[in-house]
Amino acid sequence: MQSQGLVETAPVAPRLSSAARRRQIREKVIAGIITAAAFTGIAALVLILVFIAKEALTLFLDAHAREEASLSKMFLPQVVRANRPPAFVWQPVSNVPKVSMIPLFIGTLKTTLVSMVVAVPVGVAGALYAAEFAPRRLREVLKPTIELLAGIPSVVLGFFALMVLATFLQDTFGLPTRLNAVVAGLGLALAIVPVIFTVSEDALTAVPRSYREASLALGATPWETAWKVVLPAAAPGILAACVLGFGRAIGETMIVLMASGNAAIVSWNFTDSVRSMSATIAAEMGEVVVGSPHYSLLFFIGVELFLFTFVLNMVASTWTRRVLKRLTGAGA
């Protein structure tokens, strides 16, 4: 906006040719359209957020909902069957709905953890190879191929995880449950490796040549240069890549819905079936009575998912800023 103001106030020639004036108008219109587009995006985001929050808020305002799904019922163990110790149970369709969020948190955490543990090393190592070691010809094939993987619809990845991966893992390791957190996590990893790879690769190639040259001139091997100089210098970009991947993993629905078995179990065993938050919304939203506590509860899960990614993004960006400061400070 500021530069636009400058153009307006600093016309040197008092009389513009009509062609130049037309161009000026055209540019103004284009700038206006772009600004409007940007604000439409932001406005849509805000409106979505307002809508979801509004639907979720009923949970705290409506007396019936407050009784059926109070915070203590969501987050503290409840007695669900007589003569049994209190437990965390997600059974929203029931005579006495049980609405514990804990199994869903654990489910989301387990699938996301598996996918990150697999995808971050693979994605970052792949990016490091492509940026530092791969011959140019190979690199030109490698990059588009992995990026192509990002274009595979998640329902296809989910189907692959459900039919091929699950059977393979069960036959190989003799797992008691075919569909579990590992299968879903690996399916998710397929979806987020390309994200992490692409963004990391861009960050690594953006490291100035002079860093590498200085390191090599000091007698470091190419491996030492890549590991100790280029990788730390690209750390903020790589972290951004991981955050993007994490955001995709926590929100990804279809793969988890198809491959995780969707049983809301509280256990830290990764070969147990899990139910994630996003899959819960997808599976239950279609049937729920509009305006019921269960309905608000699903929106509340949406708000929680949003908060998770939001907080993670905040933490990551603060960390990135700190790393950047340290790097530039050390360089000066």
């Binding site: 069957r81 059974q91 599976a283 279609g286 509009v290």
Partner: protein, 272 residues
């Protein structure tokens, strides 16, 4: 003048939805019934080319929610309407009408190689509540039972919950899958699996008989139609009010001998 224009606009706005709907009947709901609904609609439209029928699925609850919202004329449901839904409809001055249009049996499946051929209702209940966790407790081999269930949005889920579990909750370890086809597929691949679904879908796996006293009842047509097979259910159409006009014509067709013949063809059981 302004108020005049405003009132005309208001009248138009009120009239529009009605005008847009004339000649089109929307049918929405239970995934179990979509195929049946579509076959009925096809045959009905062949005879009444002026009426357009739109049949979509989404689940019993979705259909009933649409009926409440007024976005569908007929809701298909594989379970009776819940009290909350009935209340909602009555609160908008509708008098919900229920019609049972076909019968279906919920069948339990196991893997082909499983030696267990029949279970009592109590055993099924124990398995789905998580009290029975090993096949040897019900006369099978020593292996953990892998329990498959449907999403809680499914009419079949509610049916089994009400009729097998007596309203109690499924075990947390029961894996929930979207759609009967997914359950069939999972059980076909899982040697120690057990799942359930509409009889219409059961192919490629072993159907369990239900033991009652000394009798083992197979989920056959005769048993389901007569109600002898304990796990059978009605499939319903729900309307906001008593049927009239094109909706009535369609329902009459569905309940006619010709419509009921289609029920048999699709794999369910006639009510008449």
């Amino acid at each position: 003048m302004k108020t005049f224009i405003a009132s005309i606009a208001a009248v138009l706005l009120l009239a529009l939805p009605g005008a847009a709907r004339a000649g089109t009947v929307t049918v929405k709901g239970s995934d179990t019934m979509v195929l049946l609904g579509q076959r009925w609609a096809e045959e009905f439209m062949k005879k009444n080319p002026n009426t357009r029928l739109q049949v979509t699925g989404g689940g019993s609850g979705t259909g009933l929610a649409s009926l409440i919202n007024g976005t569908t004329d007929i809701a298909m449901s594989s379970r009776p309407m819940k009290k909350a839904e009935d209340d909602k409809l009555r609160s908008i001055k509708a008098t919900p009408t229920q019609l049972s249009v076909a019968r279906d049996g919920v069948t339990f499946y196991v893997h082909e190689s499983n030696p267990v051929g029949s279970l009592t209702q109590e055993q099924l209940k124990g398995i789905y509540l998580g009290d029975i966790t090993n096949w040897k407790e019900v006369g099978g081999k020593d292996a953990p039972i892998v329990v498959y269930s449907r999403e809680n949005s499914s009419g079949t889920y509610v049916f089994v919950k009400d009729n097998v579990l007596d309203g109690e909750d499924y075990a947390a370890s029961a894996q929930t899958l979207p759609g009967t086809a997914a359950v069939v597929n999972a059980v076909a691949k899982e040697k120690n699996g057990i799942g359930y679904g509409g009889a219409a879908y059961a192919k490629g796996i072993k159907e369990l008989k239900v033991k009652k006293g000394n009798e083992e009842i197979e989920p056959t047509e005769a048993n389901i139609k007569s109600g002898k097979y304990p796990l059978s259910r009605d499939l319903y159409f729900y309307l906001r009010n008593a049927p009239a006009g094109e909706v009535k014509a369609f329902i009459d067709f569905a309940l006619s001998p010709e419509g009921q013949a289609i029920v048999t063809k699709v794999g369910y059981f006639p009510v008449k």
